[in-house]
Symmetry: C2
Subunit: 668 residues, 2 copies
């Protein structure tokens, strides 16, 4: 452990301006947590000195223009320390971060939520709280910066991404994925400041870890060093070295959690609870901070406001460059995220072509074909895969790989890192200028869950391409066969889950996913070949989530609901029923979420009043909503098995014969 | 990159015994994958030399007694190379791994599933396939070995855990959690052999990673080195050094994927597809391997069988020590996994006491109290938490921390590593001698998903303690508030999900979880205080999954279904309905899975025929099964928010008033 400057009063003497600027953060954090009687004062108090140096001397942002595209990004990955962010935003003068908001910390409807929530207040670049997500999302932002830079040049895109991380972020597995990828891609404008306080919730981190973090980052190609996090000069010099490095940088800032608190500094007791009035008073005394709760001396506020003035000047300079840049129009257009004007028409023509050609291919292949068209129509899309490129078919013709020094590519080899793929895609989407999509096997949505949930919570346009979406993948067996995953994804708020039945629905679902600006989408795609069944319609029928694919000849006696690869089986079942004189309608349900959004009348017209059978090679869970108490479900009741796919469908009874049998029993 | 011995015929000359033993693995892998026309030949061919050295010179196992407790554990973390394991088991003479089974590779019902499946064949120590799980589970096994050793001494417990890992295992985030934890705990009998072939599915690993793995492992306190994986002598010496080290060891074995194949060696094309008859013939020629497909020369088989003879001798020695050991009886008892004879009676008395005392505490606190009793009754239980010990209350009085050199503890500080916690618990359970439980906030089940699924797939007695199980956690906000997690867990096959309503149900659910030998359990527990509502019954009513907690006075007009913290609200709602003259029954449903397993008559008696209202502070997804098409659901339709819990319940309308309103509308 490096030496840490003691908390001597001298270091906090009045007139010691930097320390007082930091103490403003400490005081606001203590006060707000105390008023809420909930929250985490320890981190803001520990990292206040580092934050002060970073914002005062380095960060480029303009609080009056919080969305200025070339601002530096600041991510608080240890999001429980949210009061640091809110305090800084108040001190910087963000218009919506008033002292009243700080007094409303963690209260209903306040901008000052328990953890920083993207969209709740100006300048919050991403939602953080689940540890390690912020770090990895920041890798995506730093990568987006380089990729935009490669397209539009230094004049328009040239900013840093700074991240605060804690011990938790660096213990979580996702941190390895982030570090490995960022090092590989040499994201030299990514600078991570590690709150190296040696404390986590259970107590000393030495209870659970012995990793030498500097050595660890170096092993992945980073510039890394230790610094005393309470020595502003040392921090400043370290950040300078980081900015000068041609590698991403990690600065392990040795800090004291709860710095300034006579009794609780250095203890996990300052991590996640209010300090108490008495200890806050003692801390004020020790910090020589005499201002009342929630009051900040004018000269301290003035000091912080200088940051914004510098930022405003930098922004003015940028505006000039922007005005002069021949690439400004294209750059601005990329930030709108608008698809080209002929997008809908092109997709419509493409569907018409498929209607004629009637390909019999796996929907993962249909997805590839659609992406071939999409990626020609727009340059916004950025593809990628977690090392399954040639299985999930996310790489289309002409796409070059994004690599260190070659940031003009459009395809990211995420490596065998599903979690990082999700969080990096979040970062690409948050940064602006791109629509990321990334592929893996559906079962490995498990590994990416933490990132997927944040895509949904933040409402980001990110598309997950999940292939091999059932026992239809065959021989790889139960570890690779999703069962509960559709339920898991459909149960998650604010995600569109698509399970297209054929090439046409795949194109339809892609079109919706790309035009849906405030929700992530999942495409659930087959490994096995599927015939074209949805031909002949001019409109995008998947938009309504479910539709009658084949009406019964005459009044329905039974309605068969199916998705994806089981629509073919539903149709075959309907044929068998017809052969026995039973009139069955077949409904394709590519997206439950969109179907739920339709009006009652439409839903009733699709579902009908006849008894219903659902067929999907997945868990029943959730299907009762559609089949009712008297319906039947044909699908999986257990994990899968290792065998060729047709045998598995037979073994698990997901067949046209099963549809026939159920239909005969149910038909009214 | 270190030099790799070329594939010269000389290195494969007949009579070059070790190479021919390795070539037997290669030939069987090629042949089986070719016959299945599915599978992964590249890894077995690349790691055959390493496997041969490891098994021939080091591994201690007795194929005739595959469950001998003190055998070395061998884990194939890169499970797609399953043919290596099956070939080795055939060559070693495991009774169930016949040549016929190898010919049935990846076919329905065969022991030779696509990935190694625990329980499918003798000697498969764990299910692998999802990358990184095997490595982390092996950390659990190696830790279990030390913990058993601390209890029963070297005479009874003294074995190694060997793991093969690939690039994928080491790119996945979970690997960091495993490496960090194993290094911290100084698990010196854990030896990892890394198939450092520089190839993954997309092509060269240099597409996606630049990490220096040796340096990375060293940063976490491991002994690590490079070796030429095709130089048996070098591998042997490296393993010797690893065994001598007082740290866990990683040996990066530089190998050639698909070694021996003239055209495909060194290429990703040998990773995941059959080589083809022509290339197999050419490979046979290059390897100077003249035997027919699936035929192994007698002297080669004889060479492999020597391994088992050595193992049998070692086992015989162990049996002698066992017979002489005063600790043998206790050791044997620990392996049965039996709870003490008075367990059920003690739990029953405890429930009776709660019935009288009627505590009003959070179910996380009730869980702590139950665990206090359980941990006194049996020493099998091993607690732990992913750094939320004092929030999830998994540490009971007198439990000591497991630390390097202090393996006699019973509490594991897993660090901020939920995924490792799950996989390590799997390893503890697989090793035998322990019942692991571990706690975190329910929302972080997301981070542990990969490990939880394997608990379920393998049917292990592992207990997940997931507290803060709804918006009831309050101010931490939407990133910390589970919404879809109960659905995700309930949709997963072979898990018991418990959401107890009070202290009594919590004790009941713990009792079931601990006595359930072949399923993992999840306990979903509240942060907020809950009154005792389930008093007065002598039997464990949670065993039936759901039961009528309060019957209506007279014929039911409405039935209210609830779980966990919402049972209190359901009762209050029933009171309000009663005040308006509406007769409502309240059903507590602590476990859907157990309720599904009851007979129709019981289920019908509980659910009744009156209209139903369900109340749960979570997603509706799945509830339609219980409320039917005409029922009502009171719960969450979105992500949560940051505010004090009572306000959130009010805001999201999860209240007794909402029950009253719904009941008035529905009551018949």
């Amino acid at each position: 452990m490096s030496d840490v400057k003691t908390q001597s009063p001298a270091a906090n003497a009045p007139g010691d301006h930097p320390r007082n600027m930091a103490n403003a953060i400490r005081a606001l954090a203590m006060d707000a947590v105390q008023k809420a009687n909930s929250g985490h004062p320890g981190m803001p108090m520990g990292m206040a000195d580092v934050a002060t140096v970073l914002f005062q001397d380095f960060i480029k942002l303009d609080p009056a223009n919080p969305s200025w595209p070339d601002r530096d990004r600041f991510v608080l990955s240890n999001g429980h320390g949210s009061m640091l962010l809110y305090a800084v935003h108040y001190l910087l003068g963000y218009s919506d971060m008033t002292i009243d908001q700080l007094k409303q910390f963690r209260q209903f409807g306040a901008k000052t939520a328990g953890h920083p929530e993207y969209g709740h207040a100006l300048g919050i670049e991403t939602t953080t709280g689940p540890l390690g997500q912020g770090l990895t999302t920041a890798v995506g932002m730093a990568l987006a910066e380089r990729m935009q830079n490669a397209r539009y040049g230094d004049d328009l895109v040239d900013h840093y991404t700074y991240v605060f991380v804690g011990d938790g972020c660096l213990m979580e597995g996702i941190s390895h994925e982030a570090i490995d990828l960022a090092g590989h891609l040499q994201l030299s404008k990514l600078i991570v400041l590690f709150d190296d306080n040696g404390i986590s919730i259970d107590g000393k981190t030495s209870l659970a870890t012995s990793t030498d973090q500097v050595k660890r980052f170096e092993a992945s190609g980073w510039h890394a060093e230790h610094v005393d996090g309470h020595d502003p000069d040392a921090v400043r010099e370290a950040i300078k070295r980081a900015r000068a490095s041609d590698k991403p940088s990690m600065i392990a800032c040795k800090t004291i959690i709860g710095f300034g608190s006579p009794k609780l500094a250095g203890s996990e007791k300052s991590h996640g609870a209010a300090l108490g009035d008495e200890e806050i008073a003692a801390t004020r005394k020790q910090l020589l901070w005499t201002a009342e709760p929630f009051a900040i001396p004018e000269e301290v506020v003035a000091g912080w406001r200088e940051v914004g003035k510098k930022g405003a000047a930098a922004r003015a300079e940028w505006e000039k460059r922007h005005a002069a840049s021949p690439k400004a129009a294209a750059f601005d257009a990329s930030l709108t995220g608008d698809l080209p004007a002929d997008f809908a028409e092109s997709m419509s023509q493409y569907r018409a072509k498929l209607s004629e050609e009637k390909p019999k291919i796996a929907t993962r292949k249909s997805s590839e074909a659609t992406l071939g068209l999409v990626n020609d129509l727009t340059e916004l899309t950025i593809g990628g895969s977690a090392d399954l490129t040639h299985s999930v078919f996310t790489l289309t013709k002409g796409m070059q790989s994004v690599q260190a020094g070659h940031y003009d590519g459009r395809y990211i080899h995420y490596g065998i890192r599903e979690h990082a793929m999700a969080a990096v895609m979040n970062g690409l989407a948050l940064h602006g200028g791109f629509i990321p999509y990334g592929g893996t096997f559906m079962v490995f949505a498990d590994y990416a869950r933490g990132g997927i949930r944040l895509s949904a919570l933040m409402g980001l346009r990110v598309v997950y391409v999940f292939t091999h979406d059932s026992i239809g993948l065959g021989e790889d067996g139960p570890t690779h066969q999703p069962i509960e995953h559709l339920a898991m994804l459909r149960a998650t708020p604010n995600i569109l889950v698509f399970r297209p039945a054929d090439a046409i629905e795949t194109a339809e679902c892609w079109e919706i996913a790309l035009t849906e600006r405030h929700r992530p989408s999942v495409l659930s795609l087959s490994r096995q070949n599927l015939p074209t069944v949805a031909g002949g319609a001019s409109e995008n029928r998947s938009r309504k989530g479910a539709y009658v694919l084949r009406e019964a000849e005459g009044e329905r006696q039974v309605t068969i609901l199916a998705t994806g690869s089981e629509v073919e089986i539903a149709l075959a079942g309907a044929d068998k029923l017809a052969a026995e004189g039973i009139r069955a309608a077949v409904v394709s349900m590519p997206s439950w979420e969109l179907f739920v959004e339709q009006d009652d009348a439409y839903r009733a017209s699709v579902l009908g009043t006849a008894p219903r059978i659902a067929i999907e090679a997945a868990a029943r869970f959730g299907w009762d909503r559609w089949i009712g108490e008297t319906g039947r479900f044909i699908g999986m009741n257990s994990f899968g098995a290792s065998a060729p796919a047709p045998l598995l469908y037979e073994h698990f009874g997901i067949t046209a014969e099963a549809v026939l049998a159920a239909g005969k029993e149910l038909a009214r």
